[in-house]
């Protein structure tokens, strides 16, 4: 009877029959050189500069040539650059490029899930008007604070939104300090002008909104538009 002996019996380790220990070693303990890390850092800093420059260039182009840029230029430009930066961080700093591919797959599925999450929310929100017309408008009234409790007492007039209420409180304080409503109003306007100047700095002023209406996006980067436009019909369903 022929005795069939395994060829390399001596090297067989029954605790590690597939040699996982030696195979995995090289994939797990990659050493990324400092030069490569520095190059990636330089790229990341450059892209940070680029994203600021992009926002400036957009503003400049619109101001100088009176362009009408589509609304998505600002968002997609900034996000495109951010995605490139994120890929560099994940590939080299977080070593996904050299790592077990399983970790990359997990991360890819997470971002896919996030994209599905945001996309479906958008599809719902911006197509409500196509199904039931009165649902097309902005979500109301959470943002106006109609449901919040007021730590300094309720607004003076019923139906006043929180921004008006804050204005009235501030005017009352100024009046107490300065004596007359006229002086209070003047001081209020002075402070508002100072605030606008400080906050907006190099940016152009924007207008067109009122307490009861946020001007919807109608084809250009809204904040750049100094003049008020008539309110567009609720057209979120067509974006």
């Amino acid at each position: 009877m022929a005795h069939h002996a395994p060829a390399s019996n001596a090297n067989f380790n029954e605790l590690d029959p597939h040699g996982a220990g030696s195979h995995g070693r090289h994939a797990s303990h990659v050493i990324v050189s400092p030069l490569q890390l520095r190059v990636v850092l330089a790229i990341l800093l450059f892209f940070t500069f680029l994203t600021v420059g992009f926002a400036w260039a957009e503003q400049w182009a619109v101001d100088t040539f009176h362009l009408t840029l589509p609304w998505w230029v600002n968002v997609y430009g900034a996000m495109g650059i951010a995605v490139v930066k994120a890929l560099f961080v994940m590939a080299v700093f977080m070593q996904l490029k050299y790592d077990n591919p399983m970790n990359s797959i997990i991360m890819a599925f997470t971002f896919a899930a996030l994209a599905v999450f945001i996309t479906f929310t958008g599809i719902d929100l911006f197509n409500r008007g196509a199904v039931i017309s009165w649902k097309a408008g902005p979500v109301h009234p959470g943002g106006t604070g109609d449901l919040v409790s007021y730590p300094y007492g309720p607004p003076a007039a019923a139906g006043t939104n929180i921004v008006d209420a804050a204005k009235q409180r501030h005017l009352k304080k100024l009046e107490e300090r300065l004596g007359s409503p006229q002086a209070a109003m003047l001081e209020f306007e002075r402070q508002r002008a100072e605030y606008s100047h400080a906050a907006h700095d190099t940016h152009s002023e924007h207008a067109g909104n009122s307490a009861s209406r946020t001007r919807p996006r109608v084809g250009r980067t809204d904040a750049l538009d100094a003049g008020a436009k008539p309110a567009a019909p609720a057209d979120h369903g067509h974006h």
Binding site: S28, V89, N103, G122, V163, A199, H203, T214
Partner: protein
């Protein structure tokens, strides 16, 4: 790959602690343990991405609905502070990765220096965030070195200072807290409070992550001083690094979305 001789470890007469590390008995090899550790941590990082994903989704919805409020709110932020903090975090990410390289090549002192620099960068980030952004926007007290203070010279309240004169009170803009959720009289758009809600949720949860990351870096630093990490065992440094890079990753998206809105 660098060839390593565990017996050439400089500075210690006897073997360092990392050389004596024995992997868990339920793992076949130390490499498997390391891989398993990392896989588990990546799974945790996915939950972090989804946590911030909710905030990004809220941002997308409200920015589309109330673009004017977003532009107005964003203009109350200073992009220079945001850009500087971005650079600080990117540099800290580099020093974190460099500390892992140093551990892998058994340069203990260099690794510890890199960890210290990473920690200081985190401190700088949080310090700037609080001293130049959160505190003035909520209380009206400006740091005396804050460049924004010169916009408000007409409204400075003489003698009203805090923290041994480090913070100066400003009436009007400062006193009226433009960053407060429900108390901003100068807002043009009534939906600006929504912007501040998203801004504070996003940046505060991110800042909490920076603080947790700093605590992890401090832990790794003290363990490293005891000689716990070396070329064959550095899972703790690696995982702290992954956490820190995620913090950086989130800020890469938060910065343009919050500071560069038109």
């Amino acid at each position: 790959m660098t060839t390593l001789d565990p017996h050439s470890h400089a500075g210690t007469g006897s073997a360092a602690r990392w050389m004596k590390y024995v992997h868990g008995h339920h793992w076949r090899t130390q490499t498997e343990e390391f891989d398993g550790c990392k896989l588990g941590f990546w799974l945790f990082l996915t939950t972090e991405v989804l946590l911030f994903g909710g905030i990004f989704c809220a941002y997308a919805i409200f920015r589309t609905l109330y673009p004017q409020a977003w532009a107005e709110g964003s203009h109350a932020l200073n992009w220079k502070i945001g850009a500087f903090n971005t650079a600080v975090l990117l540099i800290s990410s580099y020093t974190m990765a460099a500390s892992i390289y140093s551990i892998q090549t058994n340069q203990q002192k260099r690794a510890q220096m890199n960890l210290i620099v990473t920690f200081i960068c985190g401190l700088l980030f949080v310090g700037i965030k609080f001293a130049l952004e959160y505190v003035p926007k909520w209380s009206g007290y400006f740091l005396v070195w804050d460049p924004a203070l010169h916009h408000h010279t007409a409204s400075i309240v003489e003698g009203k200072t805090a923290l041994f004169g480090l913070f100066q009170f400003v009436d009007g803009y400062g006193g009226k807290r433009p960053g407060a959720l429900f108390d901003h009289p100068f807002a043009v758009d009534p939906h600006v409070p929504l912007w501040w809600a998203v801004y504070y949720c996003g940046t505060a949860i991110h800042a909490a992550h920076v603080l947790i990351g700093m605590a992890l870096i401090a832990r790794v630093y003290f363990k490293s001083r005891k000689g716990d990490y070396g070329p064959t065992y550095y899972a703790g440094v690696e995982i702290t690094g992954l956490y820190w890079h995620l913090v950086d990753l989130i800020w890469i998206f938060l910065f343009p979305l919050l500071y560069l809105v038109h």
